[in-house]
Amino acid sequence: MKKYIALFTNGLLKENPLLTLMIGLCSSLAVTTAVSNGIGMGLAMTFVLLMSEILISLFRKIIPDSIRIPVFIIIIATFTTIVDLMMKAYTPELSRSMGVFIPLIVVNCIIMGRVEAFASKNRVGEAVADALGMGLGYTWVLVGISIVRELLGAGTLLNIRIIPEAYTIGFFAKAPGGFFVFALFISINLAVNRMTAAGKGGAK
C-alpha cells in the first residue's frame, strides 16, 4: 500500500509532469483561460492516461518490443477519440472552447512518456497509481494556472463575477499572460524545492 501512495504523490509534486519534467506544456497554457476548461482538460487527460496505462501494462508482455511505439500510439489515439466524441456529445460548449486541443492529447508527451517509461515495465496496480498521480498532478497545475488567469483576466471564477469588469487585466487572458503565469508557477515550485532541500540539509 505504501508503495502505491508513494507512486501517487510522486506525480502530484516531486515529479509533477508540468512543473518539474516540463512535458505536455502546449495544452496546459492554451486552455487555461477559464477554470472550467482547466478542469475539463485535466480530467480528459487523466482519463486517457489512466486507460492507456492500464491497457498497456496488461498487454506489456504480448506487445512485441520492436513495434511498441506504433501500438502505443494506436491505443492512445483510440482513447483520445473516445474522449473527443464523448465531449462533443455531452459537453458541446466545452468541446468547442477547447477546439483542437482535445485531439492533441494524442501527441501529449506526458502520456507517451509515462506509457513508455512506466506502464510498459510495471504491473497494473502500479500503473494505475502512477497514472492517477500524474493525471491529477497535471490537473491541479492546470486548475491553478486557470484560476489566476480567469480571476485576473476576466474577473470571474467558473463564470461567477468576483472582480468588477472595470478592474480586470486583459493581459492575463491573452497569450503572454499564459507564459507569464506559468513562469511564476515554475519559479515558485523551484523555490519550494530549494527551501525543502535546504531544510533537509540543515537538519543533518
Binding site: 502546449c26 495544452s27 492554451a30 477519440t81 491573452k174 497569450a175 499564459g178 507564459f179 513562469a183 515554475i186
Partner: protein
C-alpha cells in the same frame, strides 16, 4: 492570390503557432539552446508539416468523407504522420546521408510535435482548399522556426545577463516568451 498571402501572414505572424497558440512548446523550450539547432529543427518541421498536410488532406477528403469515417480522423492522421516521419528517416539515411546527419536527430522528435497534428486538423476544420492548406502549413512551420530563432538569440544574451535569482533557469525562458508574445500581439492589426 491575395487570400493565400493572407493565410500565410496570419499563420506566420498574427496567429504564430508557438507564441500565440502555445503549440509545439516542448521543442521551443528544449531545442532553442543555440541558433544552429533551431534552424535544423525548424527545417525538419517545415519539411514534415508540408508533407503531412499533402497526404492527410486528400486522405480525409477522398477516403474518410466518402466512407463516413470522419470519427477515425485522429487515429489515421497520427498514424500517417508517424509513418511518414519513419519513411523520411529511412529515405534520408539511404540517399542523403549528409542531410540526414544534420536533420536526423530532430526527425525522431517530430512525431510528438503537436504543431504538425494541429496543422493537419486546422486545414480540415477551416475548410481550406488543397493549395490553401499547403500555404498554411508552410506559414505555420516558418512561424515556428522564426519564434525558435528569436528565443535562441535571446538565450545567448541570457547567458551573460544578470538574472534575478528566483527567475534563474527555465522561468526566465517563459518570461522571455511572454515578452515575445506581447510583441507579436502587435501584429494583430495587420489584416482586417
Amino acid at each position: 492570390m491575395s487570400d493565400l498571402a493572407e493565410i500565410f501572414i496570419k499563420a506566420l505572424l498574427i496567429d504564430n503557432v508557438v507564441l500565440m497558440r502555445f503549440l509545439a512548446l516542448c521543442p521551443f523550450i528544449g531545442m532553442s539552446t543555440d541558433i544552429k539547432k533551431s534552424v535544423g529543427m525548424g527545417g525538419a518541421v517545415t519539411f514534415v508539416t508540408v508533407l503531412a498536410t499533402a497526404v492527410t488532406w486528400p486522405l480525409f477528403k477522398f477516403v474518410l468523407v466518402p466512407f463516413h469515417l470522419e470519427f477515425l480522423q485522429i487515429l489515421t492522421f497520427i498514424l500517417v504522420i508517424a509513418s511518414l516521419v519513419q519513411l523520411v528517416e529511412f529515405y534520408l539515411k539511404k540517399s542523403a546521408p549528409a542531410l540526414y546527419s544534420s536533420m536526423g536527430v530532430y526527425l525522431a522528435l517530430i512525431t510528438t510535435n503537436c504543431a504538425i497534428l494541429a496543422v493537419t486538423f486546422d486545414s480540415i476544420s477551416n475548410d481550406y482548399t488543397f493549395i490553401q492548406s499547403l500555404v498554411y502549413a508552410v506559414g505555420v512551420a516558418v512561424g515556428f522556426m522564426l519564434s525558435m530563432l528569436l528565443l535562441a538569440g535571446i538565450r545567448e544574451r541570457i547567458k551573460i545577463a544578470k538574472i534575478p535569482a528566483f527567475l534563474k533557469g527555465t522561468p526566465i525562458l517563459f518570461m522571455s516568451a511572454a515578452l515575445l508574445s506581447m510583441a507579436f500581439g502587435g501584429f494583430a492589426g495587420l489584416i482586417k
